[in-house]
Subunit: 366 residues, 2 copies
């Protein structure tokens, strides 16, 4: 399956959902010429999936140079960016040497930023290996690294020339990474696609079991939502903010609990419950029970009720500074339609958080 | 005087040639809102010119945060980029906080790259303080830093929202920096503007004396050439390469002599003599004596005849790798019209270098 991201200035690139064996043919199709290729990955992916990919590239005439980095969020930082710079320039690159990011969001963002900035921009190929990267982070051109002061504070917009998602790679994901990715799939359904919402409702058991026949379709539908949003707002001037559904509380939860306690997807799952409550208050026709039931199916281990509400509120205030003044929430008007609101009151925040805790408890005890 | 750089996608920004006192009004005109502003400069410029600028900004309602870095090429490197990141994020910025680069090429490239990558892109204001920056490096969106493996290997294209060149700042430039900048002005005349060439021929004494009545016009004409080239080729896919007139030999001369021995402008002045010889060989109608005379007026202290020709040739080969295979020279078809050639032979290189040395000796002894 292929989708296309079309952007102003005749820029256009495919998002391919297919087996990795087809990657070399697609590299050619997007106009990349055989030669050196800088492949950046992490130790987990290298162990599980690197050799077949390397063999396929070599068979097609490429000379991949492979850089294997430690897995995990701390890799998304300046020292590792510098390491990519050093290795790439030591090996020898020119402005046509592609960078292939083979991994999850950390590798995609980091290698993507290296591609954005080596020789003022190298062609970037995203080969995402996690669900969240396949349906979200690998698409749209956001690249960057973290800084001691916060996540993603340094980066660039650099659109890839190709995104290539092989659903079979997801079979080896740890279960918690799988369900975290599902939170983003649910998010895409809620903000942009009632049909995907229905598919998730109907086939949840198959989804959780990573049914190989279902995955390509599931990914394709979620990808389509992301592409639609990116095409309307490449630089996040407005609409693209709806991708932050569940993220106002979500970011605060991650921060207050300490990064790594909840996964990003788990925090967003909780944040979506809060956003659901706020949405339902404004739009009583919203099918709140159906949405809540789907969100409750996303497993969130841990105890959000140990988080201090005041700390969450403060963490949201910090986030707010970055947006110059107002606390913004993405809300749902109906399933498939989201918008940004800045009229949420303090009292509502508290009630929304109660709704999150009640909903979470109901899951745990059910 | 105002020129406009117009780029695809309705992007457009002014290049203003005016006294610094007019800067705050122009900040407003390009849509920047009062608030924090990150001002990056170096110690020399800070000593000579910072206070009036700071006062003007504060009087207009801005809160400038000033970062003063050491002058010189070594500042254009990762540790200083990191320092800008740290200070900017410590002070607190949002996506609308402008970065104002107040300095020569080093500050413009470094602060420009910081602006390109902080929060995935902040508005950039270039306030160039050297001749070379005013007519060349501050315009066109090239930003970046050096790497141990070579110059400008890490960077991004990030167009400024405003370039503001105050000619009076040039009165305090050390003489060698002034004449180095003139090399680029001569280059712009040769590749793009016969009228500017004539102006330089006729008023060379005034030019060398930095006649205050002449400077705005001189800068304006040189700026116009640069803008024309950038508008036709923002990302250096083709035409923009003509800005490298004199640079194939020039880069090799800088490298072989050791960076800092010749200034960039001096090396380019010598390189233009080589390119002139190669051009004349292909285009006998070229007014080689007039051009040579103008180039000889550019003072180049030092002894290029101590440079080893074989070392120069090798240095050009290294440069060539970065362009995937062929040694490329920018040549003149006539005054005001340049193109890229890749048919230069080894024997020609040697003869061209002899022409450089003879021309340089003739200057020194004349």
């Amino acid at each position: 399956m292929v989708h296309y991201v079309e952007l102003p200035g005749d820029r256009r690139y495919p998002v391919v959902i297919e087996s990795l064996a087809a990657l070399p043919a697609w590299l050619e199709r997007v106009g990349l010429r055989h030669g050196r290729l800088l492949l950046v990955t992490d130790e987990n992916i290298a162990r599980l999936h690197l050799e077949p990919l390397r063999a396929a590239l070599e068979a097609a005439g490429w000379t991949p140079r492979v850089l294997v980095l430690p897995p995990g969020e701390p890799t998304k930082a300046l020292p590792y960016l510098e390491r990519i710079y050093d290795e790439a320039l030591r090996w020898g690159i020119d402005r046509r040497t592609p960078v292939l990011a083979f991994g999850g969001g950390v590798i995609g963002d980091l290698a993507g930023f290296a591609a954005a900035t080596l020789l003022r921009g190298l062609p970037l190929v995203q080969v995402p290996t996690t669900l969240i990267a396949q349906v979200d982070s690998a698409i749209g051109g956001k690249t960057g690294i973290n800084h001691a002061r916060g996540k993603n504070l340094i980066g660039a917009f650099h659109q890839p020339v190709l995104v290539f998602a092989d659903p079979s790679l997801l079979q080896t994901l740890p279960v918690r990474e799988w369900t975290s990715g599902l939170a983003e799939v649910v998010k895409h359904a809620l903000i942009g696609d009632p049909a995907l919402f229905a598919l998730l409702e109907e086939r949840w058991a198959d989804v959780m079991q990573r049914d190989a026949a279902l995955l390509p379709e599931l990914i394709s539908q979620a990808v389509a939502v992301k592409i639609r949003v990116v095409m309307q707002d490449e630089r996040e001037a407005g609409l693209r903010a709806i991708l932050n559904f569940g993220h106002t509380f979500g970011h605060a939860i991650e921060r207050v609990a300490g990064y790594g306690h909840f996964t990003h997807g788990e925090a967003v799952a909780l944040g979506m419950l809060a956003a659901l409550w706020l949405s339902h208050r404004r739009h009583p026709d919203l099918p709140v029970d159906r949405i809540r039931t789907l969100l409750q199916r996303l497993p969130v281990p841990g105890s959000p009720d140990t988080l201090d509400f005041e700390a969450l509120r403060e963490a949201m205030q910090v986030d707010k500074k970055a947006l110059a003044g107002r606390l913004r929430f993405v809300l749902l008007r109906r399933v498939g339609e989201a918008y940004v609101a800045d009229d949420v009151t303090e009292a509502e925040l508290r009630d929304a958080w109660q709704f999150v805790l009640e909903s979470h408890r109901a899951t745990v005890t059910s």
